[in-house]
Each structure stands twice: as C-alpha cells, then as structure tokens.
Symmetry: C2
Subunit: 232 residues, 2 copies
Amino acid sequence: MPEIDFVLVDPLYEGNVGFCARVMKNFGFSRLVLINPPPLGDEAIARASHARDVLEQAEHATLDEVFGRSTIVIATTGEVSKSICTSMRMPYFSPSELRRMLEDVDGRVAVLFGRENWGLSNAEIRRCDIICTIPTSRLYPIVNISHAVGIVAYELAHIPRGTWRVANRVEMESFYEHLGRFLERIDHPDYKRDNTMIMMRRIFGRTALTPREVSTLHGLLRRTEWHLNNKR
Amino acid sequence: MPEIDFVLVDPLYEGNVGFCARVMKNFGFSRLVLINPPPLGDEAIARASHARDVLEQAEHATLDEVFGRSTIVIATTGEVSKSICTSMRMPYFSPSELRRMLEDVDGRVAVLFGRENWGLSNAEIRRCDIICTIPTSRLYPIVNISHAVGIVAYELAHIPRGTWRVANRVEMESFYEHLGRFLERIDHPDYKRDNTMIMMRRIFGRTALTPREVSTLHGLLRRTEWHLNNKR
C-alpha cells in the first residue's frame, strides 16, 4: 500500500478532528493533514485520546500543496440521488474497491474528507482523480466525518485478522477414530453408525477446531470412558 | 440477514450513545438496546442528529433479556495479546467474517458492545456464542465505541455500492473501430498500428467506460476529424 494522507478540508469542529486522529491511529495511519482547521484545544485532545501524537503532528497545508505532491487524490462524497449521474460524482467506488485500486500504486495518495455541513465543493471534487462513496442507507446517508474516516481507514488498512492454527488432518482423524470407538462403547446401533459419523464430520468440519479444542474433546471422551468402565 | 440488535452494555457517556444511534441509522439499523445507560440528554440528542428516532426508540433491557430472546449473541472485544489464547477470547472473527457467518441465520441476533473503559467482562463474554474483534493497529487498538459500532454496522449492512451500466461490447467495438480510423487519418505508422490498438484496448478496457463516456470520446474524435478536414 502507498502512504496515505488523510486530509480534512475545512473541518468545523475540533472534537471531530480529534476523533479522526484517534480512529486513524486505530488502523495504523498517522498522516493527518488539516486544511484551514478550527482552533484545536482541549476537546480535540480529549477525543484524540492516545492519538494525541497524530493530532499534534498533523500537517497544516493548502489544497494546492496536497494536489501538488500527491500521485492520486481521492474525493469522498456522500451518496447522491440516482438522477445526478454526472461525471462530477460518477462513477464512484466503495472503500473496499478503493483498497484494491490503490494497493499497487507507488506514490503518495491523499484522501479528502469535506466539511461537516456540506462536504467537498464541486470545484474540489472536479480536481480529484477518484471518487469514493461509502454505501449507506438512503434513510440517513450523512455519516459523521470521523465515522467516514474510520471506515475508510479500516478498509485501506485491511489489517489481517491474524491466524490461529486449525487442527490438521492427523489430529482430526485421530479425533474421529476416538469418536467412532466411543460410539461403539455406548452401543450406538451399527446401522446408524456411518450416518452419525458423517454428521460428526460435518459438525466438527465446519467449526474449524483448534488443536486445543480437539485435545479437550479427546479428554472429555476419555473421562467419560473411564466412568463407563469404572461405574460408581 | 437476520434482525440485528446493537446492544450497548453499561455505556458511560451519552454522547457516545447518540453517535452509535446515528451511525447505526447510516447503515440501515434501528434496533438499539441499552443496558444500564447514563441519563440521555441534550448531548446524546445532538450527536444522534437525524437518528433521534433510533435514540428515542432505544429499548432498555437487561442482559438476561437479551440472551433469553437471541438466537445468537456476539461479543465484540478489543484485540488481545497473542499470549492469551484461551477459549474466552479465541477464536475470534472479523466483522466481514461475521457477516458471512450470520447471513443465513434465521432468528434474532444481538451484538454486544462493552463499556468505554474496560469493554465486556469475562463473565459476559463467557455467555456469548461468537467473538468478533475488529483488526486494529497494535500501537493503539482501543477503538471508540461508536467507531466500533460503525464498522460492524458497515460490514453487516454490506449495502451494495449500486451499479452503473458499463458500455457493452457493441459500444466498445464501435469506439475501437472509430479509434482505428482516426489513427489512419493521422497517418499513424502501419507497423505500429496493431500494438497501439492493443494498448488502447488495455487502457479503455480497464477503466470500464460508461456509455456516456464512450459517447463523449466519440464526440471528441469526430470534432477533431472535422478540424482535420476543414483546416483553418
């Protein structure tokens, strides 16, 4: 991914600026650019919380400076009525599409977020290379600027969930074998056995058991077997 | 998608409750459930903005009531250090995975969001069916509750971007044909022609032109041809 500047154009409320800094940092972004911001005081700092560094290192710039140095400039816009299919706001892309469009870009990318009350002007949108619109409900499409920044940051960061090891084939087969012996032990009718084992494979197959979970299930079977064999 | 209750467990700040109502409505959700909320006054209403209806219709309930009526209850948790791989918080799923897990569920689903200062308790998480964690930066993983609600709502709603008609095969072939004639008209060297036309197909193929854009490009070519033929 290229470096991404999150550019707030004429933000009105310091609280929103602080919230934007915070949610950017939540997703690993730190390049906050402010164009003509309001005075940033206690409320901005409070809302930035542990992203005070992002807020304090925010760059104050002009729109011309942003365009001058950016390979690609993206306008974020609210959803427009279907009748306005002009080149100004169409075609637009969702934040997840944006990620795929940008992932191979080499250079600096700026994403512009407009004023809380009326967004980006047509003149600003006209200069941008790509239009990004967060798909919203038609009933209330106006997303708070920090929520818009959050969703774009979440999608562009696309931080992997992280992985856990799922039990492998050998571990699972050993578990199913144990389960099969167990069914025998409790006199599960022979003629039902195959179908029941298939159901067990379906159930445990789709849950993607971790090795620890498999080992706990083995343990439960063993403990039950012990009680069956040593009835008290 | 099943009906989704967004449940705020012991929220501390009325502003956050208002913001949660707003961003829920942005993505078409309206079932806000409040467990032991703070008094909701002017700030909650201001932040809810045009989602005041969601705020005012919020249901006050107990956690037992939520569990009693929900087919599936999901705990949202912050990212945990890798060392805590207990069944309490693992395995966890990202909001986009959650959408796929829920889309065929028939019944009522509740998503729990914990307190702003320390999230959900272990006792609360223990009762939940699925753990959902928003993948965040390790540097600052604590997401404001309204941003967490926003991202989960955005993913669960998964509102389609909407579509526009892309120029069809006939329209594109007619455009390429025009472009080929144009190259001939400006004496583009024969031996380069094929490669240049391939490049044109690559360029315009990947931009997915709209019919209107194709028609404008035709117009530009025609206008240029006129000037070539009527030199002034």
